[in-house]
Structure formats: C-alpha cells, structure tokens
C-alpha cells in the first residue's frame, strides 16, 4: 500500500535497535539494549519475570517513552513503517467481556487500512474471516468474545495481526496459558509466516520449547545477556547469566518483589 514512495531498499533490516534505555520514574527497566534482526527470522525473546520483555516490545512501537536510543524498522522510524508492523498484545491486556464479536475484533486489524471515519465493508469482513479460518476458529466468527476459551482468545488476537499482512510481527507471550492444540496451531502459523519471508519476534516463557521453535534467541534481563542463533546462544551458561546465576524459584520471587517495589 505504500507504493513506490519512499520504499526502503531491500537490504535494510526489519529491526535495528541501538542503545535503547527505557525508565519508569528514573529507574531503568531496560538498559542499553542493542539488537539487529535479519529478515525471515523467528526470534524468541527470553528472560525472567520483570526482565523488561514487554517493555522492550512496547518501546519498539513507541508505546512507552524511551530515555535514549534509536530504533529503526526497515530503515525507518516506527511512525513511518507502522503499516508493516503487526502487534499481538498480551491476552490479559483487554477486557474479554466487551460487547463485540470475534469477527469485530479481527477487523480491528484492518482499521488502519479502512481509514478514519469510513465504515467496515463486506470485503474487510471477508478478509477477517479468512484470517480466522487460518488460525482455525472460523466457526466462532460471530460468537461474543466472552464465550471464547483462553486459546481461542489468543487465536483471535493472532488473526487480528495476520489480517494486517505486515512484514514484522511483535508478539507478547502468545503461548501463555493456551492449550496444546492452540500452541501447535500457532507454531504452525509462525512457520508459515517464516516461509513467506515474514520476521517475527516472540516473547516466550517455556524454555523447553525454545530450541524447537526459534531460529535465534534474545536473552534479556534488563540488558541483552546474549543474542544470536539458538544453537550457539541458548546455552546453560547464558541462561544462568540471564536468570541471575541459578534457575531457582527464589530468584523469580525476589524478582517479583523488586517489581512490586517499583510500582509502589
């Protein structure tokens, strides 16, 4: 849709982050993050609770103010390349009791294309339905969203991002608390997207599935501990550094306490 105007050269990276620092009330949440993502990659962002993973994604999209740093998406600012970025927020970020249908939610992904003040037309709804069918819940299109299971909610959000037909996708914990069938379906779609040359960055929690799902990983704990191809970077050593020495529940608990202090 951007046509010939200002189309960036093909060799620019989908995402390039330099010295990104984000702070809440002067306490840094992420610190001096640098990252380059090459096209067609499926990237996992991994780190303990409160490591700033969500903040990192939000900072890429200018949703949180950044203290310093430069972010380029396909060689341009987010503002100019917004239409090439698809976002799947955390499922818990919205009220699923809202009076809209599944199809309504998916068409929201097209609002940017439809434009201000213009009504949703039949071909928009058809595109939304195709996206729903692609994630395997086409038969729920007219259900009210409060009737969905957790996995179906996640698929709805995924469909809303897919319908945009973006080139870079940012997903905030799409696998959190979903059933096995949904997880399988999402992985399948992520692979299809990779085949189609799309770049996807996924925040992920389950360490066991990392080597199976992702080409490369970013280990994040307020700073980038390591990033690169999964087979070289996803090592016991790096994980221990990321999770503060030991992968124990105690660390998670102290992390959670620290996080609570920050919000007081």
């Amino acid at each position: 849709m951007s046509g010939s105007i200002a189309q960036p050269p093909n060799n620019t990276l989908p995402l390039s982050v330099r010295d990104l620092t984000v702070a809440w009330y002067r306490k840094p949440v992420i610190w001096d993050v640098g990252l380059d993502v090459t096209p067609g990659q499926l990237v996992g962002v991994i780190g303990p609770n409160g490591a700033g993973k969500s903040t990192f994604l939000k900072a890429i999209m200018d949703l949180v103010p950044r203290a310093s740093g430069r972010i380029e998406i396909f060689g341009q600012s987010y503002k100019r390349s917004r239409h090439r970025v698809g976002y799947v927020p955390q499922r818990e970020s919205v009220d699923w009791d809202f009076p809209v249908s599944v199809l309504d939610v998916v068409t929201m992904g097209l609002y940017g294309k439809i434009g201000w003040c213009m009504p949703v037309r039949r071909h928009h709804r058809e595109a939304a339905l195709r996206a729903l069918e692609r994630v395997g819940i086409g038969e729920f299109a007219n259900r009210q969203i409060s009737q969905l299971s957790g996995g179906q909610q996640q698929r709805t959000f995924l469909a809303r991002a897919l319908v945009q037909d973006a080139d870079l996708y940012l997903m905030d914990e799409p696998f959190a608390a979903v059933d096995a069938a949904t997880e399988k379906a999402i992985v399948q779609i992520l692979r299809e997207m990779k085949q189609a040359g799309k770049t996807t960055i996924v925040i992920h929690h389950d360490l066991h599935t990392v080597p199976e799902y992702f080409d490369s990983v970013v280990l994040l704990n307020m700073r980038v501990v390591a990033s690169g191809p999964t087979e070289t970077v996803f090592t016991r050593d790096n994980l221990e550094k990321t999770y503060g020495g030991r992968l124990t529940l105690l660390d998670e608990a102290t992390e959670a306490m620290r996080r609570r202090e920050r919000t007081l």
Partner: protein, 468 residues
C-alpha cells in the same frame, strides 16, 4: 459560613417544593393532557428531556466501556463554578447575566477545566484516577457553592442559579429544546462517524496506540461528548443527578445484549424513556421535581433490566443454572443406573435407596429427576417398585457412559490422573463437553486402542465404591 448558608438556602428551596404544597393524585383529564402531549409547555419539557436521555444513553455506553463512567460525575460537578462566574462576569461584558448561552458557556469551560485538572493530578502524581476524581469533584463543587453565595449577596437577584444543581426542566422553553435537539444530533453524528475508532479505543487502547491512533485525542473527543450532554442536561436534571443519565441506561442495556450497536440503541431508548416518563410524572404530580423523577424512572428500568434482561439478567442466569443442574442430575441418574445394571444384568431393577447412596443428592432432588426421566420415557418402575431403564433410556444412558469413560481414559492417558481419582475429575468436566470435543476424544482414544462400542470403565465400577 457563606457556603453553608448557601447550601441551606438550596436545601430549603428543594424542601419547600416538597412540603409546602400537597401532592395529589391527578385526575383523568390531567393524565390525558400530559400523556397525549396536549399541553404545550409539558410537551416542550417532555420532548426535551427525552432527547437529553437519548443523547446521554448513547454517550454513556462508550464512557461506561471506557471505564470512565465517574468522569461524567466529576465533570458535571465541575461546571458549577463556571455558572457562578459567568453570572458575575456577564454584566461587565455587556451581556444579560442570566442568559442561558452565557451561563452554559461558563459551565462548559469550567467543566473542561475540571477534566484537565483530573488528568493533571493523575499524570503528575502517582495518585490513582479515583482519588483524582474525588479531589477535583469536591473542590470544584465547593468553589461553585462559594461563588454562588457571593453572587447572591453582591448582585442580589441570582435566584434561579441553584436550579442548575437540582435541575428545573419546567423552565425549559422552545429554544432550549432546540438546543438539546441540535446537541443530540451532533453527538449522534460524532459517534456515528467515529464509531469504529471509539470502539477500538474502549476495547484495546494499547493496540490502538500501536496502530498510530491518537488515543489522547480520542479520549478528548469522548470527554467532549460528555461535556455536551452534561451542559444540555444541567437545566433539566441538574448537575448532581446528571451522572445517573450517563451511567444507568448504559449499565441497564448491558443486561439485554452482547452487541455494541444494540447496546447503544437500547441504552438510548432507556435514557429517552426515562427522560420522557420522568418529565411526565413531574407534570402529573405537580410538586415532584423532574430531575429526581427522571432518575427514578431510569433506575426502575435498570431494575427491570437487571432482573429480566435476556442476556445476563438475574432470572435468565438462574434459569440457566437450573438447567445445568438438571442436566447434571439427569446424567448422574442414567449413568448410575446403567453401571449398576451392567454388573447385575439388564433386567435387574434398582431400589430407590440404592440410587440415593450413589451421589450426595437429597431424596427430593432424586425423586424429581426420576419423575422427569419417567415422563420422557427413559425409566419406569417395575412391579416391585424398583427402577429400570426403558429401551430408549438404555440408548441415552449408554451414550452418556460412553462419553464419561472416554473422558476418564483421556485423563488417565493424557493428564496423569490416577485411575482411583479419575471418576471425580471426569465428572466435573464432562457435563460441559461439546459434541466436537467428544468426536476428537473418540478419534484420539478409540482408534488408538481399537475399542469398539462403549468403552470399558478404566476403574472398577461398583455401587459401594461410589458410596464410599
């Protein structure tokens, strides 16, 4: 002290209209005159408040969904100082001090100032929105009362200003109705044009931001709509009760529908009916204030919606729960009988007392379920008063047992549930199994294990085991 004195005078004003003159039941011609809109003044007032209710109901739907319902309350309270100041300043600008446009402009400006104050308090401090609302609401209202009492002493003829607090629709004239009508059409237009954007804002602010929507601007548009509705409502219901028209119809409509467009329409209808009927009540019972009547009519409609709303009303939900309980009992009874007959032979009747030990159900509840099954032709009592499954009962029961055992098998093989405990956990979930899920289970388990017909129970089935 001035504030107190002013407040006293307002209360006395409100009280006088309630006590001084008696309220009597209207005569039949009076009913006719009001309800058939024959009286000109009453007609102006009733149509005006109806339009107000329509507009407030529509705007209220969005503010409710945006969880900003109380913002309207703070905003309406914040209009009072503006009314007083406009009254004081107007003569020096060469305008009539009591002209409605002047007073309403003042009200709008100070209402907007109140909203900005709330946003400032919230964004610059770590106070939460409710605290910011409480502070701004009370401070502005207090300041407004103080300014009104100053106006009363210095200028003298400020009587009538207090009608903005409790509302006085009887003073409404044709041009006011026109103002309300135009404002209503304006809000309708804005909401229609921005329907998609406002929906997105209310549903998923983060996603809206990521798509580049100016969330702050959209919020301001929404607050602007609230300002418009509040300002035109000041005269009719007053600033204290304005919040009722913004919240009650929207909340009530949620009991009737799960669809946003329908919700807005129903909310507008409830608000409009409240405005119309409330003004009618006030016209019929001469001394009942219209603002209060409008709110009371709206709240009656809310109560009806809460009880009888077809989507999530109390009655509907109780019925749904009863149906679920009945289907659980139904499944327990048929499955219990089937499993007992399985070990004793198909002809064996089962005494009532034995069925009662199967589950922790009261004999009353069990008897009712048996009666329902008997009427459906699923069970019958044999000559010794023992219970047997009919042939169609047997078909139904074997289907239920089959599903139950499938689920048990699934739990054992896929969810690591110990066979001894599986009956209980299977029980909790199977009542909500959907046909698609059953088909999946069959595919998953039966093909793998080459089980035909009814799956065998994965744990010993015996009445004594159930009873223990």
């Amino acid at each position: 002290m001035r504030t107190l004195a002013a407040l006293h005078s307002f209360l006395a004003f409100a009280a006088s209209s309630l006590t001084d003159r008696s309220i009597r039941w209207p005569t039949w011609p009076e009913w006719q005159r009001v309800l058939l809109l024959q009286d000109y003044n009453t007609r102006v007032v009733m149509l005006g408040t109806m339009l107000l209710g329509l507009a407030a109901g529509m705007v209220g739907s969005f503010t409710l969904l945006r969880r900003r319902a109380l913002m309207g309350d703070a905003l309406s309270h914040a209009t009072l100082p503006g009314v007083g100041l406009a009254f004081l300043i107007a003569p020096s600008l060469g305008l009539a001090e009591k002209s409605l446009p002047v007073l309403l402009t003042g009200a709008a400006l100070s209402g907007i100032a109140g909203v900005i104050a709330i946003l400032y308090v919230r964004n610059l401090t770590r106070l939460k929105e409710d605290a910011a609302l409480g502070i701004v609401l009370s401070v502005f209202f207090g300041a407004g009362i103080a300014i009104l009492s100053i106006a009363q002493q210095s200028v003298g003829h400020s009587a009538g200003l207090e009608s903005f607090i409790y509302g006085k629709p009887a003073s409404m004239i044709e041009s006011d109705r026109l103002l309300i009508g135009c404002s209503g059409v304006l809000t309708l237009l804005i909401m229609g044009v921005l329907f998609k954007e406002l929906t997105l804002l209310c549903f998923d602010e983060g996603f809206a931001k990521s798509r580049g929507y100016p969330v702050l601007l959209l919020d301001l548009v929404l607050m602007g709509l609230v300002v418009i509705v509040t300002i035109i409502g000041l005269q009719a219901v007053g600033l204290v009760l304005m919040i009722a028209l913004l919240v009650i119809p929207a909340a009530a409509s949620r009991f009737w529908t799960q669809n946003l467009k329908q919700m807005i329409l129903i909310s507008a209808a409830i608000g409009g009916a409240g405005g119309f009927l409330g003004a009618a009540m006030s016209a019929l019972f001469r001394n009942l204030p219209a603002g209060a009547m409008i709110v009371l009519v709206c709240s009656s409609l809310f109560f009806i919606s809460m009880m009888f709303g077809t989507e999530r009303g109390v009655v509907v939900r109780a019925l749904r729960r009863r149906d679920l309980n009945r289907s659980v009992d139904h499944q327990h009874l048929l499955r219990g009988m089937f499993e007992l007959q399985e070990s004793r032979g198909p002809k064996a009747g089962i005494p009532f007392s034995e069925l009662q030990t199967l589950r922790s159900w009261s004999s009353h509840r069990l008897l009712k379920e048996i009666e329902r099954c008997r009427r459906k032709g699923l069970v019958f009592r044999n000559s010794d008063q023992k219970l047997c499954l009919t042939s169609s009962g047997l078909v139904e029961a074997s289907r239920l047992v089959h599903e139950h055992r499938l689920w048990e098998l699934y739990l054992i093989t896929h969810a690591d549930v110990a066979p001894g405990r599986v009956d209980q956990s299977a029980d909790a979930i199977e009542h909500v199994l959907e046909p698609e899920l059953i088909a999946q289970l069959e595919e998953l388990l039966l093909q793998k294990r080459r089980v035909q017909g009814i799956a065998p129970s994965p744990h010993p089935v015996d009445a004594t085991e159930h009873a223990s």
